[in-house]
Symmetry: C2
Subunit: 149 residues, 2 copies
C-alpha cells in the first residue's frame, strides 16, 4: 500500500467532494447496472414518482439533464414499461411522461438497495455524524443546484 495522502489535494474540499462523489456515483451505478439501468434512469423515475407526470422539458430542467438525453432515457424506460408517455392534449408540442406501476415498484427496490451503498460508503461515520453530513450536504446541494434537486 502506498502512503495515504496527497496533502495538496485532500486539503481542498472541492477535491474531496469530487472524489467521494465519484465513488458514490460508481457504487450506485454498479448497483443499477445489475438491472441494466443507469443513474439517470433512477433519477428520472424518482422525479416522476415525486412530481407526477411532467413534460420532458420540465424533467430536463429539474435534473439538469440535457433535453436530448431525456429522450434517450425515456426511450429506455418506456421500452421496459416503467414510464408512460402521452401527448399533452392542451399543448400538443408537449409529451407528458409519468411513472407506471411497475416503475414505482422498481424504484422502491432501487431506493432500498442504495441504502446498502450508503452503509458501505459511510461506514467510518456513526449515526450522528451521518446525519450531520447529510444535513450539511443538503444545504450545499440546495445552493449548488439553485433549488433544483
Amino acid at each position: 500500500m502506498l502512503p495515504p495522502s496527497t496533502p495538496r489535494l485532500t486539503a481542498l474540499t472541492p477535491y474531496l467532494l469530487s472524489t467521494v462523489g465519484k465513488v458514490a456515483r460508481t457504487l450506485v451505478g454498479d448497483l443499477l447496472a445489475a438491472r441494466d439501468l443507469r443513474l439517470w434512469d433512477m433519477a428520472v423515475l424518482a422525479v416522476l414518482a415525486d412530481h407526477g407526470p411532467l413534460p420532458q422539458r420540465d424533467l430536463a430542467e429539474r435534473l439538469a439533464l440535457h433535453p436530448s438525453d431525456v429522450v434517450k432515457v425515456l426511450d429506455g424506460l418506456a421500452r421496459r414499461g416503467y414510464v408512460d408517455r402521452a401527448r399533452d392534449t392542451a399543448d400538443r408540442r408537449r409529451v407528458l411522461a409519468g411513472i407506471s406501476e411497475p416503475g414505482l415498484r422498481v424504484l422502491d427496490e432501487l431506493v432500498a438497495e442504495v441504502a446498502t451503498v450508503h452503509d458501505d460508503l459511510l461506514a467510518p461515520l456513526d449515526a450522528a455524524e451521518r446525519a450531520t453530513l447529510h444535513a450539511l450536504l443538503l444545504r450545499v446541494h440546495a445552493h449548488a443546484v439553485g433549488g433544483r434537486p
Copy 2:
C-alpha cells in the same frame, strides 16, 4: 423556478454526494479549462509536488488513473514544461516523472483559484460547518479510496 426538491432522491446521501461532487468537478474543471488544463492535469501535478518524482505506475495507482491515460496526461504536461520525464537508471523500464519549477508555480496558482470555488460552493455554510464537512469527508474519502488520495 420549479419546486425545490425531489424527496426520494435528496433523502439519499449517496445521491447528494454524487450531485454535489459533480458540481464541484464542473466548477474546478471550468477553472482549469481557462488554462486549457483538465482535472487530471492538476491532480498529477499535486501528487508529483507532494511525493517527488514517481514512476508512472505509482502515479496511476495513487490516482486510480489508468496507466495508459497517465501517458497522455504526462504528454500534455511535458509539452508545457510542467513536468520532466527521465528513465530510471536503476530500472530502465521505469520512467520517473517529476514536477518542474514552472509546474510548481502553476500548481500554486491553481490551488489558490480552487479556494474561490470552495467559497462559492460552500457559501451557505459558516466556517465551523465547513470545517466539520471537510473533516467528515476526509474520513469518508480515506475509507472510500482505500487510503489512496
